[in-house]
């Protein structure tokens, strides 16, 4: 379990990093390394060049409010997302989702940009970003572009990124007073890949639900939006039966999880129902989505 030989580069600027990506086919960006290094050690990935983002610094390490959005640099580590006061105030869903990522050692190294660009459908932060309707800031030699989280995750480990592009930041709409959030996942052991997870954002105003977004992880090839469940709640009062029904719709209609070594497709579908119910419960405490669990 030693990697194949590679050339190691550590550019000092985003521009320099993009130049390296543009001039070296199959070069691979290294952020926190929590997914890439195991792939290298197992020789499942054998890139000729590794471009380490560790020295890019600057804006990539920043967290700042910008109008109605919170801008989080791609190099911000997961552990910081858990604790950062701005994130906890303006994007609490992201802070909670971050606390479910792997183990402390993984959170200390892994980065937001890394997990976004890795596009693992079982990852927590991409699902949270979809629930938040976040924007992904992508830099290329021609400048920056913004891609909606809804458009970014194309398939398993397949982000909407060109060969000479990189994620530099994520922009999240800041939470409004009426916004409610919930996050739940079901994992065999703390830190394991979840059987399923759900991230919920919605607004409760005038007794009805607005802007309902439910994103599912480990439920399909990408982080998914549970659109049928969302539609069933939009504009409705959060009565208990309705939340339970939405959770059932998320499981039955919104996903088609594949079975694997650890769980059958059927179990994963059941798990989607459970986590959706729990996430809705968390977002709407007191509305009793589904009784004891």
């Amino acid at each position: 379990m030693k990697p194949a030989p590679f050339v190691y580069r550590r550019p000092a600027s985003v521009r320099e990093a993009l130049d390296l990506l543009a001039t070296t086919p199959d070069a691979k960006l290294l952020a926190g390394g929590q997914s890439l290094l195991p792939l290298l050690n197992l020789r499942l990935a054998t890139p000729p060049v590794i471009v380490d983002m560790g020295r890019l610094g600057g804006a990539l390490d920043e967290i700042r409010a910008d109008g109605g959005e919170l801008v989080i640099g791609a190099a911000v580590r997961t552990a910081r997302l858990e604790r950062d006061p701005l994130v906890r105030e303006h994007a609490p869903l992201l802070a909670v989702a971050a606390s479910h990522v792997g183990h402390p050692a993984i959170r200390n190294r892994g980065t937001l940009g890394g997990t976004v660009a890795h596009a693992d459908p079982a990852a927590e932060l991409p699902a949270a970003l979809r629930a938040l309707d976040a924007g992904i800031v992508v830099a290329g030699l021609g400048g920056e572009r913004r891609v909606a989280a809804d458009e970014f995750f194309l398939g398993p480990l397949t982000p909407a990124l060109g060969a000479a592009e990189m994620v530099t930041a994520v922009r999240v709409p800041v939470a409004r007073p009426e916004d409610r959030f919930g996050f739940a996942e079901l994992a065999r052991r703390a830190g394991d890949y979840a059987y399923a997870g759900a991230a919920v954002r919605l607004a409760l105003a005038g007794g009805v639900l607005r802007g309902v977004r439910i994103a599912l992880l480990a439920a399909g090839p990408t982080p998914l939006l549970a659109r049928v469940a969302m539609a069933a709640l939009e504009g409705q009062a959060p009565a208990g039966g309705r939340l339970a029904e939405a959770a059932m719709l998320a499981a039955e209609r919104d996903c088609d999880p594949a079975g694997d070594l650890h769980a059958s497709s059927q179990y994963r579908r059941e798990a989607v129902g459970l986590v959706t119910r729990r996430a809705l419960d968390e977002a709407l405490p007191g509305y009793a989505a589904g009784g004891p669990s």
């Binding site: 030693k2 194949a4 079901l186 830190g191 394991d192 650890h262 179990y267």
Partner: protein
């Protein structure tokens, strides 16, 4: 001193980073090895071309079958049925690979990186053959044979017959028939295997292997003839060991290939197994299927058991041959009177990693099956699970009790013990009746809580013998050597406390060294919960010899008859005149060695109780309490006992809740990393409450029983019983491990179909 919870000797060294594990061994000029392994579960090796690999800068040698003597075959080191030898494993693939992961070539290079680069340059051409990946597939009439010249993939059928089961099953008031499956598992120790081989100096000397463990004398006796050298020209040294668990230290292909490589290049060679290799190349264990039926009297007494066990032993018969499952089959009756017992044990080869021993070989499987049947019997007869066990436990006045089965060529005779008292103590500690009341109370609040019990018998102190030597030193300390190996449970303390007790000297003055063939010419090793029983008694005998020798010399020196010399606390005295062991040792060597010969296996009664909550919606199981106890004969160090229990329970929880080596249909291991071979975390293990009983064993002078395998093997049955108890009204039956949330959900769905009929 025996009976004191003295702190671990050597703990400071290990906890402060002073350990020296095999990967810490550095020898000048050392090279590193990597092993090319078969990518196929079953394939003919058509050709192998190593030219490009050898040409890679930094590569020193590539070993293939051509470099390995034909005699390099992994032998079984225990008795085995006729014909077993046809299923043994050559150290390297010669013509046919029979499991994915079987060694095909070994590269020696400047470092592991280059060695792995070179592996990719070896061109092996394969002709894939159809693979048998399950016992069912391997036993089909048209199944491909793994070995030419054999008429079956079933290596042997071992038959055990006690009493008359046909008569017992006729007109029985209650008959339960069930199929059980126990998964494939392995030791997955924190430290993987490894070996440093130092070739003999051209000027003379020995071939030195560092990193061996478990049974280094046995392995030396196997290896020396293979290398064509006398026993004395081969030295095996144990260094610190990060977990043995039965898998580590058996003789593996790498133990042959790495020394051959070192001799070929004339330089030290190091091989450290990586985790992916560890899960494919180190022994697997356990996987069995039971087709079993049990007959009860109306009052709950067992009339008889009939069982067909099919063990999936993987591609080859390895060092422990067919013994692991045989141990289980022989102990299946466990602590109960089973007057009639018939068991056929099949040992079937499949195209998977070969199987061997793993902490309590054979018993977790048998205990899971038997203890589930006891609960099913209780349910069928309307008895409490505790009560049905009470009615069947062998009573102390029935000791010695002969189960009537044979394993390892030996009878299964429990020499002594009080299983009912042990069981009642378990129930008392569980506060069983109160726990039942609480179960009902929380159920009213929607919490499904279950209680699970398991009573079982462990075999400890396995033979054939063990040695110990103690040498008094002029500095007042003592050097202790033994053939037993020190793999972490505290052998140093056990020997130091037994010697200290015998000699009247504090335990901290005994330096117990790791096993080394250079220090001990004859020894056996550590397995089968034997260290304390066998090395402990050998040390006790050695101490007596040392005092006798010292007394003779003191009498000479003091000019008195030997009978006038008294011994106490390191001092020999005759009246006012005295001489110490240290002073005698300063004159000339003062040492004594002894061997303890095992005439009978020592059995130990054990019991465990579990309280668990089950969430039927998610299938998640939360263990709330684990209480476990065993008869240790005589407690040498209670703190070590508690440690063994706690570690054993964690081990058993992993075996029960998580661990399963899964293969795909082509014979590729799917659980090839620790993401997929799931081990327990600290959070999976509730606080362990342990206790022990002290009923001296009649099998050895000190009355000791072994403990190393008492903590883990009851958990499968106890946890399964607790989960089924929590879901009893749903009719849930668990017949397979591990008890993962998806498996619990599946069992609930199956039960619903059974009770309501298919929807």
């Amino acid at each position: 001193m025996i009976g004191a919870s003295l702190p671990r000797l050597g703990a400071e060294r290990l906890t402060s980073g002073g350990g020296r594990f095999v990967a810490d061994v550095r020898v000048p000029g050392m090279l590193e090895a990597a092993v090319l392994r078969s990518p196929h579960a079953h394939a003919r090796l058509v050709s192998i071309d190593t030219a490009r690999a050898r040409a890679l800068p930094g590569v020193h040698a590539v070993l293939t079958a051509a470099d390995v003597p034909e005699t390099a075959i992994i032998p079984n080191r225990v008795p085995a049925p006729e014909g077993t030898a046809r299923y043994l494993q050559p150290a390297i693939v010669r013509t046919v690979a029979r499991y994915a992961g079987e060694p095909v070539a070994l590269v020696v290079a400047d470092d592991r990186y280059v060695a792995e680069d070179a592996l990719a340059l070896i061109e092996a051409r394969w002709e894939p053959l159809p693979a048998c990946v399950s016992v069912a597939a391997a036993l089909r009439p048209d199944a491909p044979r793994l070995f030419q010249g054999t008429d079956s993939n079933n290596v042997a059928t071992i038959r055990m017959r006690v009493g008359d089961t046909d008569a017992a099953f006729a007109d029985t008031p209650l008959l339960i028939r069930e199929r059980f499956q126990y998964p494939r598992q392995t030791g997955a120790a924190l430290e993987t295997r490894g070996l440093v081989a130092v070739p003999p100096d051209p000027a003379g000397g020995e071939l030195h292997l560092l990193g061996s463990t478990k049974c280094i004398h046995i392995n030396r006796a196997i290896l020396a003839p293979m290398f064509g050298i006398p026993l004395g020209a081969l030295r095996l040294t144990e260094v610190d060991v990060g977990g043995g668990f039965g898998v580590r230290g058996e003789l593996y292909p790498e133990d042959i290939l790495v020394p051959l490589a070192a001799m070929k290049v004339g330089r030290p060679v190091r091989w450290i197994e990586d985790r992916r290799e560890n899960l494919t190349a180190t022994n697997h264990a356990r996987q069995v299927e039971h087709e079993i039926e049990i007959a009860f009297e109306a009052d709950g007494r067992i009339r008889g058991i009939r069982d067909v066990i099919r063990a999936d032993i993987g591609a080859y018969v390895r060092t422990a041959a067919l013994v692991p499952a045989e141990f289980g089959a022989a102990l299946l009756p466990g602590p109960y009177r089973v007057p009639n017992y018939a068991c056929d044990l099949w040992s079937v080869v499949t195209n998977k990693t070969p199987a061997g021993t793993l902490r309590s070989p054979g018993r977790p499987e048998a205990n899971f099956v038997r203890e589930r049947l006891m609960d099913l019997g209780a349910a069928g007869l309307g008895l409490d699970p505790a009560e049905i066990r009470r009615r069947n436990l062998i009573r102390p006045e029935e000791m010695p009790y002969d189960c009537g089965t044979l394993s390892f060529g030996a009878t299964t005779v429990y020499d002594s013990g009080d299983f009912p008292a042990l069981f009642e103590e378990l129930l008392r500690r569980l506060d069983y009746d109160a726990a039942r009341r609480e179960q009902a109370a929380v159920r009213a609040r929607g919490i499904r809580r279950g209680l699970g019990l398991a009573v079982y018998v462990e075999k400890t102190g396995l033979g054939p013998f063990e040695t110990a030597q103690v040498e008094a030193r002029p500095d007042g300390r003592f050097t202790v050597d033994t053939g037993a190996s020190s793999m972490g449970p505290g052998l140093e303390n056990v020997l130091a406390q037994i010697l200290g007790d015998a000699l009247g000297i504090e335990a901290t003055r005994f330096d117990v060294r790791h096993a080394d063939t250079a220090a001990v010419e004859s020894g056996v090793g550590t397995y089968g919960s034997r260290g304390t029983v066998t090395a402990g008694n050998a040390a006790h005998l050695a101490a007596a010899k040392l005092v006798a020798e010292a007394r003779t010399r003191a009498a000479e020196r003091l000019g008195v008859p030997e009978t006038d010399v008294t011994y106490a606390a390191g001092v020999l005295a005759a009246g006012a005149r005295r001489v110490t062991l240290a002073e005698l040792a300063g004159e000339r060597r003062l040492a004594a060695g002894a061997s303890f010969n095992v005439s009978k296996i020592t059995y130990a009664g054990c019991a465990v109780g579990v309280v668990a909550d089950v969430d039927p919606a998610s299938g998640f199981v939360r263990l709330r309490r684990v209480v476990v106890g065993a008869d240790v004969g005589r407690a040498v160090n209670p703190a070590l006992i508690e440690g063994q229990f706690t570690g054993g329970v964690g081990f058993g929880i992993g075996n029960t809740m998580h661990e399963s080596l899964e293969y795909d249909e082509s014979g590729q291991l799917l659980s090839g990393t620790l993401v997929d071979y799931v081990l327990p975390l600290a959070e999976d293990v509730p606080p362990v409450e342990s206790f022990y009983q002290e009923i001296p064993a009649h099998t050895n002078p000190l009355g000791l029983r072994g403990l190393g395998e008492c903590g883990n093997p009851g958990l499968g049955g106890a946890i399964a019983n607790a989960v089924c108890d929590a879901l009893a009204d749903l009719g849930v039956e668990l017949t397979a491990l591990p008890i993962t949330p998806p498996r619990v959900r599946e069992a609930i769905r199956r039960a619903a179909v059974r009770t309501r009929g298919p929807s």
